[in-house]
């Protein structure tokens, strides 16, 4: 009995170029160990990307497992037509979008019953207010700085955020991001440009002064 096996001669471009594609092909053939290797390799960044998308660590880990589960369920139909990470983040984008939509619906209901409920994606002016509140009194250490950055990322629209995360943390090209998010490269270019502009504006006080958050806080106190 014989089985088909990819070889040097018939291996596709992606199979040759991307070790993750080769692992995924082993998963297709039934290798649990190959799948485990993929989970090990991608879990950290996947959870990080999802955490930025849904703003909740526990939910991010649950969603990451959902992403891996979908990858595994799709194994028998898997054909390498792109880098593995492109495919992985296409699924991630869909899973995160669904989750954000659901969460957004829940929060819309909350808004009716509880006026203090926040929108899933916070508008920039709210963000700006938060920032001014943070500056004089609360920004004291690295943790606070991290919070400022996280909030700045949260203030971006979901698509800007996703494009930014894939570009910044996954090092994807515009073409790969476009493929993952099912957009044109021109749209990706525009999304990233806007994301950069928004982040620059929100984080400008910490860039232009060249001072730490603590110093900014002290100056603010002295001025008042």
């Amino acid at each position: 009995m014989s089985v088909s096996e990819s070889s040097l001669q018939k291996a596709s471009k992606y199979e040759l170029l991307d070790p993750d594609v080769r692992l995924m092909l082993q998963v297709r053939e039934g290798s649990a160990a190959a799948f485990e290797a993929l989970v090990e390799k991608h879990q950290k960044r996947l959870v990080m990307v999802l955490e930025h998308l849904v703003s909740d660590r526990t939910q991010a880990e649950d969603l990451a497992q959902d992403v891996f589960l979908r990858v595994y369920r799709a194994r028998e139909r898997y054909v390498p037509t792109a880098k593995f990470s492109t495919w992985l983040y296409t699924i991630t984008h869909n899973v995160a979008s669904n989750s954000i939509r659901k969460s957004s619906r829940r929060k819309e209901i909350n808004l009716v019953t509880s006026p203090s409920g926040s929108m899933p994606v916070r508008p920039l002016d709210t963000m700006a207010k938060d920032k001014s509140n943070l500056m004089p009194t609360r920004l004291a250490d690295q943790k606070e700085m991290e919070k400022v950055i996280r909030d700045a990322i949260q203030s971006l629209g979901p698509r800007q955020r996703m494009a930014m995360l894939l570009s910044k943390y996954e090092g994807m090209s515009y073409n790969e991001i476009a493929e993952s998010m099912e957009l044109t490269t021109q749209a990706v270019k525009s999304l990233l440009s806007r994301a950069r502009g928004n982040l620059k504006e929100l984080l400008a006080p910490y860039l232009n002064s060249g001072k730490s958050a603590r110093e900014l806080e002290r100056e603010e106190g002295e001025a008042s």
Partner: protein, 486 residues
């Protein structure tokens, strides 16, 4: 603070929106050469544009200060459990669906046939004295291997991934498609259906029946928990889509383990699985390196690369076997004419020799006599790319620092070393060779110590193979000189 950050021109007052897009794309390295040049020209002359670029870059760099947390320690484990659970549920649902549809069909269409067949099956099984043997046929055939290998399937999968033990036996080229055939395993020929299995056992010849009976008795004396463990392992293995590769790995791994010193093997089995895998890798690498090291060749790749290099060479040798065998008689004839070694045999003899000769021997001969041909053959197509894919970063760096000609030469040296390491002489070959020697030389050999005898015989054998001729008198003279230099 600007409330419309998507229009940066209102913030800076000078940077128009389209330029902002270009700056962002410039930072991402996504502009073409012309656009890049335009941006750089402007950066050289427009200080505000430059400041904007620096500001964007700083913002982007600020994102690097965010720490990346590891997911919880059990993330991989729980994900794998989730997947296993899902696979089990899917299989159960499939089975349920199949069962449901099957039942409906049977209830509607074939109730009589069903009861008659079921009755027949039960009756035949009950009347068969070797029912337990038949039920557990697959595991009885294999449990002695499971016992030696002593691992779970996940561990076997991990070993399969290292790719040390799985040996495809034939590569079949069918048009442009390639298929790898694995060694047939006895487990593949055992029918799944119990009635057919009973027929299968009945049809075995006497010798096989006796052997099976012995295995069955060995199996029966195992503890109940061991028997259950082997049965579960066998069932799980049979259910895997890649069972053929896994069996091939299992067989290779079993063969390898049985060749180890007993103390080394039991030492391995005592280790936890993770450490065992690392130790297996270390032993295998050491063995492979020793095999190459024996040949005293220089410029060998690093230890870590050796097993992978050997695997790559084996694939290449198999892939190119036809071309190598076709070339061999031509070069052999040419060499014999040029070196005036005996009379050139007729074409039919040369062709027959190329058909039956050991492939490693042919490769060794061609590497000496027609290195260019082997080089061209090995480097045609994507083969080199495939090699780069399996080598460590260090080995790739070593190669990359050389010219293309040097790279080829180095790789060809490696191929030569691997080929030589595979030309090990089996005892059977040696005995056969010895029988072909003249009685005079045999007598001389018999008088040597056993160690010296083996060493000399191997040397003679190698020499005779290298010469690629069967001129007894010529190499007998050589051997005589070697044995008695005075």
């Amino acid at each position: 603070m600007n409330s419309k950050p998507e229009q940066p021109e209102s913030q800076s007052g000078e940077i128009e929106f389209s330029s902002f897009d270009e700056l962002s794309a410039y930072l991402d390295g996504e502009l073409d050469e012309k656009q890049t040049q335009e941006v750089e020209n402007r950066l050289g002359s427009d200080s505000k544009y430059l400041a904007e670029l620096q500001s964007l870059q700083k913002t982007w760099d600020l994102l690097d200060t965010l720490p990346v947390q590891e997911p919880g320690g059990s993330f991989t484990k729980t994900t794998m459990e989730l997947i296993v659970g899902d696979a089990v549920n899917t299989a159960k649902n499939r089975r349920k669906r199949t069962l449901f549809l099957g039942r409906v069909a049977i209830m509607i269409l074939l109730p009589v046939v069903f009861f008659a067949t079921a009755y027949g099956v039960v009756r035949r099984l009950k009347s068969d004295p070797d029912r337990r043997l038949i039920e557990n046929l697959s595991v009885i055939e294999n449990f002695s291997k499971y016992e030696v290998v002593d691992c779970d399937l996940e561990f076997l999968e991990r070993i399969r991934n290292i790719d040390f033990f799985q040996k495809p036996t034939v590569i079949v080229v069918n048009g442009s498609e390639m298929e790898v055939a694995y060694e047939d395993d006895i487990a593949d020929s055992i029918p799944i259906d119990s009635v057919q299995r009973a027929e299968y056992v009945k049809a075995l010849d006497v010798e096989k029946k006796i052997s099976l009976k012995g295995k069955f008795e060995d199996f029966e004396v195992k503890s109940e928990s061991d028997r259950k463990r082997y049965i579960d392992f066998d069932l799980e293995l049979q259910a895997r889509g890649n069972r053929q590769q896994l069996r091939s790995t299992l067989n290779g791994f079993y063969d390898w383990l049985t060749e180890l010193e007993l103390s080394e093997r039991s030492g391995l089995q005592d280790l936890p699985q993770n450490e065992r895998l690392a130790e297996i890798r270390a032993i295998r690498v050491r063995q492979a390196q020793n095999e190459l090291g024996k040949k005293s060749l220089v410029n060998l790749p690093s230890k870590e690369d050796v097993p992978f290099l050997m695997g790559w060479c084996e694939s290449i040798f198999q892939l190119k076997e036809r071309q190598l065998r076709d070339r061999f008689p031509l070069v052999l004839e040419q060499a014999m004419r040029q070196k005036k070694i005996g009379s050139v045999p007729p074409t039919s003899v040369l062709l027959e020799k190329s058909r039956v000769e050991n492939l490693n021997s042919i490769i060794g001969f061609l590497l000496r006599e027609d290195r260019q041909f082997v080089e061209d053959l090995i480097f045609e197509g994507d083969a080199l790319f495939g090699l780069y894919d399996i080598l460590s970063l260090n080995a790739r760096k070593q190669l990359d620092s050389r010219s293309e000609a040097e790279q080829r030469s180095r790789i060809l040296d490696w191929v030569d070393a691997v080929n030589q390491s595979q030309q090990g002489t089996s005892l059977e070959d040696l005995k056969k060779f010895e029988m072909e020697l003249s009685s005079k030389v045999r007598d001389r050999l018999q008088k040597m110590s056993s160690e010296k005898y083996r060493e000399t015989l191997e040397w003679m054998y190698e020499e005779s193979r290298k010469s690629q001729i069967s001129s007894q008198s010529w190499w007998e003279q050589q051997i005589e000189k070697t044995l008695d230099p005075n």
